[in-house]
Amino acid sequence: MGLKSNLHNLKEKYKGTKMAPAFNAIHTFLYLPNETTHGGTHIKAADDLKRTMNIVIMALVPCLIFGIFNAGYQHYAAIDAASGVIREASLFSNFITWDNFVVGAWTVLPLVIVSYGVGLIVEFIFAVIKGHEVEEGYLVTGMLVPLIVPVDIPLWMLSVAVIFGVVIGKEVFGGTGMNILNPALTIRAFLFFAYPTWMSGDKVWVHEAVERAGTADAISGETLLGAYAQNSSLAGIDYMDMFFGFIPGSVGETSKLLIIIGALFLIFTKVGSWRIIISTLIGALTMGLIFNGVVSAEWIGESSKFYGLMNVPFWQHLIIGSILFGAVYMATDPVTASQTNKGKWIYGFLIGFISIMIRVFNPAYPEGVFLAILLMNVFAPTIDHYVIQGNVKRRMKRLKVKTA
């Protein structure tokens, strides 16, 4: 009698009652169910929804682990910087250390636990009310959410946002697979608009920077984008740091290397769409080039408040901020993205293009990836509609030529 048969017996016992979906969910999440289909021909496919979700989670785990160490590293680096010592990041000597892990785990793991706990409770409640099976949709969202918030976000705010995101972003539309907006980004957008002091500015990105503000132990908690938007730059950070991710930022989005590895994994397993990822990056580079052109044509001077961000070399937009994370894990969400291949190119390109545009022009907050993706989520069905209509028209024309 293992856990598996116990769960099976529980399922049999509660069959037909309101609580049945709850046991069912745990059972199918952990094991292959005992029941098999009888009679007739059935299509067998290994890539069901739960498998797809698990692959995305696997692709996210490296980012999470890196995020834990980075939270600790940024904390100690900022303390050093406050006393005048600029740290040189080095993977083995001062990054993967026990101290970093303790601080990081202490701040990041509660975010993961709250995100999953609250989100799954909401999912269970809705499953019981609807008399449905519990939907797997929250598995990925719950992992994404802790990775796209600042480390020190108060946990109650995260809970409120998760409830809002799951109910308004997903359940009102009918649950997983029916949502218009990406639930993880809905949660982030809610936090951003509801509690802007905890989601932007130069304090929230490093652990304890908020509590220490204004005291003798004050430390800086600024991101690179924030610094660029102020027409300045952060000391002691070079391009390799940005690429490997030894920079302050949301928990999981700093390491571009690990995101690229995750992207390759997603493309290789055919879970993420390479068309969307590539076209998003092309869109971002295009907008970056346009801004560089504006600067080199001297249409705006150094006194302009947009100068700092416009002057960033176009390729560098990919390694600062969260455009790469958004392109790989958010834009490719199969539910909210465009479905047609041509549509995916347009959808991705516009995400990248608008992301950088908002990043430069947004006066309050120098990042626009989540807003751009949410905006294009809304337009994805429209893009698909016109791609399909275009296709229909072309075929009608061909038909006419043939028959004429």
């Binding site: 108060p154 109650w156 308004i168 809610f190 608009f193 509801a194 509690y195 802007p196 002091t197 905890w198």
Partner: protein, 214 residues
Amino acid sequence: MGLLSKKDAKLITDPLADNNPITIQVLGICSALAITAELKASLVMGIAVMFVLGIGNVVISLMRNIIPSKIRIIVQLIVVAALVIIVDQVLKAFAYELSKTLSVFVGLIITNCIIMGRFEAFALANKPWRSFLDGIGNSLGYAVILIIVGFFRELLGSGTLFGIPVLGDPIEKTGVYALGYENNGFMLMPPMALIIVGLIIWVQRSRNKALIED
């Protein structure tokens, strides 16, 4: 109700719930989103619409047999405009701060679909007393939703009700703010009003299945 016959009472009670102008007919959404960040503004807006719709319905009803149907919209507009100007001037004279908060939305009562809708659908075909009750009923239904939305938005967005702090002082960190609570800035933005109205519609329709249309 001894004062009103059963049929007349329905004119008041129907728009409060099962035929609410905002949540069922989805009219007058614009102002419901724009001015409900404060409870006081919501209340005053509700009263203003009640004044305009109550009197307007009576006036139109009295004139219903002499208005040529080709130009009836213009006549209705003139009636609304006259009444709205009275409201606007009264607000400016006696509650200047409030008229600043409500800004153009007092003037925009003219374009509030509920008003033209009731003129067209009810006052043109009914006697003055019934038209008056219908006007009061519909504007009450409008005001109720405005006040519910305004209550949640002001309480959660600013921590006050009618401008009086009820959750403590956010700067001095007293009351619930001492526990780390913070005001929800999203509540002060119009999209949140839309979401609250949506939630009210959700609750209403899941309580009364007859309201769900295909």
